[in-house]
Symmetry: C3
Subunit: 259 residues, 3 copies
């Protein structure tokens, strides 16, 4: 994608203010809602199975974050995905730390059996767990490089975060620019990438484009955050940077990266 096309997605988010329904986790819920709102989207974070179908029907995009899984969350996620199949809504699934327990891995595999189309956003460790169906037990953040398989399922796109973000789909893949080592490991930025992917997807409807735009927008914001003098300031700068994705500086940053 050209930098202008990517920026256009963020401009349209601010213009159209899509309603993004996210099943969050309590650790990163505030950051994800703040990040969506900083972009101009409207977050709605319902959790009860009792209202999932109605909420999904009014949303422009949906993000399911499986952090802090519980039986109620499993049920809510299942209802969301079954409704998504009927309603054909853009959906992003984020299998947070799915290699950490049998409970998590089984939940993700069950949700992947529902025939929805959309984006799976995970780090290398999480995607490896899913593809190999095995526990890695290395916490939420991936610490080593994993070899991932090609996608086999039509209509599912993988956004894999890592030192270099990758996008995989049936029949192809794309590696995005390599990032420098991060100064700050801000909690919830993996979840926020999933949220932003959902906002982009609600605009472009094309999963590969949404994944690429979100990964670049997030990489820009994280790079700005790393210039801060401490963790607290870095988190503030991260949200400030998300306010700027339709401005010239993001475009210049993308061009500089590509030269």
């Amino acid at each position: 994608m050209e930098p202008e096309e990517i920026q256009e997605i963020f401009q349209k988010i601010r213009e159209k203010q899509p309603l993004i329904h996210m099943i969050p986790n309590a650790v990163s819920a505030t950051l994800c809602a703040d990040g969506l709102s900083a972009l101009g989207a409207r977050p709605l974070m319902a959790v009860a199975p009792q209202e999932m179908q109605e909420i999904v029907k009014q949303a422009d995009g949906i993000v399911i974050n499986l952090g802090q899984p519980t039986p109620e969350k499993r049920e809510a996620a299942r209802l969301v995905l079954e409704t998504v199949v009927q309603e054909e809504k853009p959906v992003v699934l984020d299998p947070v730390g799915c290699g950490a327990s049998v409970f998590r891995l089984k939940m993700v595999q069950e949700l992947l059996e529902i025939p929805w189309k959309g984006i799976i956003k995970g780090n290398q460790s999480e995607v490896y767990s899913i593809q190999q169906n095995l526990l890695t037990q290395e916490g939420i953040d991936s610490r080593e490089d994993r070899t991932l398989s090609a996608m086999t399922k039509e209509g599912r796109v993988l956004l894999v975060s890592g030192v270099a973000d990758r996008i995989l789909w049936k029949g192809g893949s794309k590696t995005l620019q390599k990032k420098e080592q991060r100064v700050y490991n801000i909690v919830g930025t993996g979840c926020l990438l999933g949220a932003i992917t959902g906002a982009c997807y609600s605009i472009t409807k094309e999963p590969k484009q949404a994944a690429e735009a979100a990964a670049l927008g997030m990489a820009y914001a994280l790079e700005q955050a790393d210039k801060a003098v401490g963790y607290g300031q870095a988190k503030v700068v991260l949200l400030d940077a998300l306010t700027q994705l339709e401005e010239a500086r993001f475009l210049n940053w993308m061009r500089g990266k590509e030269q």
Copy 2:
């Protein structure tokens, strides 16, 4: 109310440090607790029905935020309101996004049938849903003007946030100053207005005064936040501004607005 009377309420919050029990939602819990503490109040955010009655009895004021509703939250809210009726404690009910699902709207209507006195804090869309008993399905934030009915119930006061905040009670209403269009749509500031209203109510015991003081304090803080360079900074400034509500600058701001 005179600016001095409004400021006196915030001065007394800092002096008396009221214990405010809030049933929060996970998205705005931190912001609401931070905002209450920035004012000098002491937040306590219990959620389990098992301890609701005891907690309500020791609180100086209570705020029920119905965002992220679940059956457990419905039960906890019911117990709070029934205890409030017996104990005559200041209570604020915030029917977050109640027009978004049958589950939410039914929960609010059931809670409104309990004969408690106090304040309902909602945006135009939420109050419209309650008064018309119909779903609006437009997300958490109200986007269009709605015509609201007068209040018919003695002892209940409505604080309706919007471009101009309004206070409605049986037999009357008051429109507060019109706000400019916000630069940042900071997530949870509607919930925070409810929390602050509870803190003011615990001091003044008079619901119309509490609603007016809270609406003005919040309008001041939001106006300061809008001067920031990005969403992250805006959220920081918002909390900084709440630290200042007993200072001369808030008094000057109120006087300037009224001239």
Copy 3:
């Protein structure tokens, strides 16, 4: 402990990146996760009883925060402590507001009957409630001085926060430096002290040392935060300061305090 020994603990946290599993509460979950990450630790905040045993086994340290108690949290905490007994993992229990309700106090007493060894982190009011087995009903934050008993149980260390932090163990106690009155009462800093204690404990394995290091690191960060111009900035500075605990300024601060 010498300042150099305390700083070494924080240096090792950044070097070893211990995986800290914390059962959080929704109000302070983000602050605790951010604080742990600012120190260089890796937070994991699971909540479901279904995965507690597996998660505990992979963690380097565990923190149980009993704020916002529910029956599910009681069950998860019980499973954690029973697993800790078998696995001999460093564990910190934080009985948030345990004097506020029968439900809380009973939960804590039941958890204390499990024969785990480790640290109990509480304020004076909470520890008094536990030792006297009585309700104090004064909110989350302690407001008056309480006389505490000596510890009677081998292998349990008490870290009691107050105007002067104290560490109590069977046969002894140590009073840390007296703090000035705080300017800002930042919500969740009690929970954060528990989280940091868990991170220190995962490194040193010696509970008294962990308690002392955490109390000093937190006192430094809170003192920096108090220099800020408002509550919002104070919270940012608090997290910035936690990024600096392996730097010379923290060492200088400890030396200045001790001269």
